[in-house]
């Protein structure tokens, strides 16, 4: 092997937090508050990559004002939405701790919308009462990122490094001991010794052609966990957001932007014949916003299949009955941004279609968010199990807060009094070789094109509606892509080499895509976000979680009973 002449950089910390979205930022804060030295890294810029900054509206928590509410009601709704598969301990952390986090964020000046001295709350589908706070206008995610980032910057115990891509975790004697990474900015290989590690890398929706993800949501945290020896759970449950923007083409606006419009103004979902249609699938809307995400995705897809789709292949969403003044009052400057895109909602409907949005599955953890590997924790969307087979609207940012805070505190407690983690190259050997090696550039393989091919496989064959035949074809195509990618990254470490970044991303994405397809093929029923056209009914005997781990380099799938609620207080 030819090794790069670029010298390696070594870093050392108590708690390494990977990912600087809401979960990672909150984890870093919690760990630092409890006395740990923290290294917070992100493959993009701190607080700018990931999903949090893109969130536009709702954050669910039983803050109880103005309507009376209690976290147990939120928990009941979360468990119902999860179709019997939620880990009740994790769901409880989300709903109970989420309340404190929302109030803490309020004290930190995030700017939740208010009515007088009370937090304003809107009702989202699947919730039994108004429970979702937000920041106007469509500004929840940026406000959350900015607020947490400001708190993190005040903590001298937190060192922040962006443009740093973690490629593998280092585990010694079944205990997490650090990570191997490379600097995206200059290509430099980096080793990190850590007493505990928190994976807060978000989900996997970049693996789909139409997605609401950022460029760094390729499931890399899941692959890091698998290679470290931890387990994944519920990987077959990918949530499709039913009304992602489809047409006309918009720029500078997130594709899930219509969700807030529906919260505030209702709106009407219409098929290509300009008729409301969700009633034929079991739920009438009557201008309100009540149909859950899995049912709406199903209804739109089936209308399109029946030839009743909109011209671009989705459904119409119309606010024509709402009126210009009400639209302006609800969305202020956003109406002008739409006008610049040539859209006047008082005159024409827009077209929407399902879009990959969130992943319910993820890293399998216990009630303290620790994985099967000691001192390795997960937080945020990277955690699997809290939301079961379908996630409620508004639970994603809440779980980022609640799980981030818990994982950070648990990691800090775990490392207190522990001696510094000693670095040994031996434990990191294969990973080090990947980030340091120099290999010929390929004339035939374009990693950016392979990413697009992977997205096509996942969208066409591992989308919301699945069959045994489609999933088998997907697994074969993933295998071919893996062979095309090869075993070593192309070229040599150097500044901002996106082809090399793509190679490391694909290495992870192909492993995670296989995990999704394997779990989807094994689950011969339809439940929540996993719909099998060849097994259309929910089967009570499938009230099981599926667990994946790596055994001798191959993915191994097994089932586990859904956890009963433990006595966690």
């Amino acid at each position: 092997m030819i090794r790069s002449p670029i010298a390696r950089t070594h870093l050392s910390t108590d708690v390494l937090v990977i990912g600087a979205g809401a979960a990672g930022l909150y984890a870093a804060l919690a760990a630092a508050r409890d006395g740990a030295a923290v290294l917070l890294v992100d493959r993009s810029l701190i607080g700018r990559g990931g999903a949090t900054v893109m969130a536009q509206m709702t954050v669910a928590a039983a803050v109880g004002e103005p309507a009376r509410d209690h976290w147990t009601h939120h928990l009941a709704d979360t468990l119902t939405a999860g179709r019997g598969l939620c880990d009740p301990d994790l769901a409880r952390v989300l709903c109970q701790q989420g309340v404190d986090c929302i109030r803490e964020m309020d004290r930190w000046g995030v700017g939740w919308a208010r009515d007088g001295d009370q937090l304003r709350q809107v009702q989202a589908p699947g919730h039994d009462r108004p429970r979702c706070v937000y920041v106007d206008f469509l500004n929840t995610g940026p406000a959350v990122s900015k607020t947490l980032r400001a708190q993190v910057q005040r903590q001298p115990a937190i060192r922040r490094i962006g443009d740093l891509c973690v490629t593998d975790l280092v585990v010694r004697d079944c205990v997490a001991a650090g990570a191997v990474a490379f600097s995206v900015a200059d290509g430099r290989p980096v080793t990190i010794a850590a007493k505990a590690v928190v994976i807060a890398t978000g989900g996997l929706t970049r693996m789909y052609r139409r997605n609401s993800a950022s460029a760094n949501m390729g499931g890399d945290g899941y692959a890091l966990a698998l290679r470290a020896g931890a387990e994944l759970i519920d990987m077959e449950f990918v949530q499709f957001f039913p009304i992602g923007h489809l047409a006309p083409r918009l720029i500078g606006m997130d594709p899930i932007m219509w969700d807030p419009f529906r919260y505030k103004l209702g709106g009407r979902l219409l098929n290509g014949e300009m008729r409301e249609f969700t009633e034929s699938y079991g739920v009438a809307e009557d201008g309100s916003y009540v149909v859950t995400r899995d049912l709406a995705t199903y209804a739109i897809t089936k209308e399109v299949e029946a030839g009743r789709g909109s011209p671009a292949g989705g459904a119409y969403l119309s606010f024509q009955h709402v009126g210009a003044d009400a639209l302006r009052a609800a969305f202020g400057p956003v109406i002008d941004r739409l006008a610049r895109n040539g859209i006047d909602l008082t005159k024409t409907p827009i077209e929407v279609a399902p879009i990959a949005h969130y992943h319910m599955g993820g890293i399998r953890v216990g009630p303290t968010l620790e994985t099967a590997i000691a001192n390795l924790f997960a937080a945020g969307e990277a955690v699997g199990g809290a939301n079961g087979a379908n996630r409620l609207s508004g639970n994603a940012i809440t779980e980022a807060f609640a799980f981030g805070r818990l994982a950070g505190a648990q990691a800090a407690a775990r490392v207190r009094g522990q001696a510094a983690s000693a670095w040994h190259d031996d434990a990191a050997r294969p990973a080090l070789e990947l980030v340091e090696r120099v290999a010929p550039l390929s004339d035939t393989v374009n990693p950016a094109a392979l990413v697009i091919e992977l997205q096509a496989v996942m969208a066409d064959q591992v989308g919301p509606f699945r069959t045994a035949a489609k999933l088998a074809a997907a697994l074969a195509r993933l295998d071919a892509l893996r062979r095309a990618l090869g075993a070593v990254p192309p070229g040599a470490p150097r500044t901002f080499d996106l082809a090399r970044v793509d190679w490391f991303d694909l290495r992870n994405m192909l492993m995670v895509a296989e995990a999704v397809a394997l779990a989807a093929a094994a689950r011969t029923e339809s439940r929540g976000a996993h719909q099998r056209e060849d097994h259309p009914a929910l089967k009570p005997e499938w009230r099981l979680n599926q667990v994946l781990r790596l055994e001798s380099g191959r993915l191994a799938l097994s089932t586990a009973p859904v956890r009963a609620e433990a006595a966690v207080s």
Binding site: I46, G50, A185, V190, P248, R249, M253, P255
Partner: protein
């Protein structure tokens, strides 16, 4: 015949000679400049460096560059069926092609 956006891109990196490359991108109404750059990476040259995270939401604010000498976000500037000249931000340290060092100094690897 379908219309073409011709992107003229400044290619450079520390220690490598600077050059300009021209790429023809099929033009579709409504696309962004970033769509054109992603098309080039997938179809012609995956080594073309461009910094972006959120792709289309104008949330990450990472894709700032010069278009015909003016600072733009590549995700909100419309692709047009004409010659479009792209260059990195002039007042920042160049990393590669259209990517500059824009991280705050205390958030970089030393």
């Amino acid at each position: 015949m379908s219309e073409i956006a011709e992107l003229v891109i400044a290619r450079a990196a520390p220690g490598e000679p600077a050059r300009t490359e021209r790429f023809a991108v099929p033009f579709e109404p409504g696309q962004s400049v970033l769509d054109g750059l992603r098309h080039i990476r997938a179809q012609h040259d995956p080594s073309l460096a461009v910094r972006f995270s959120c792709i289309n939401a104008n949330a990450c604010k990472e894709c700032m560059m010069l278009l015909d000498g003016k600072v733009i976000y590549a995700c909100t500037a419309r692709l047009e069926p004409r010659v479009m000249v792209l260059a990195p931000l002039p007042n920042k340290q160049l990393l590669r092609d259209l990517v500059t060092e824009i991280a705050p100094p205390d958030e970089r690897l030393e």
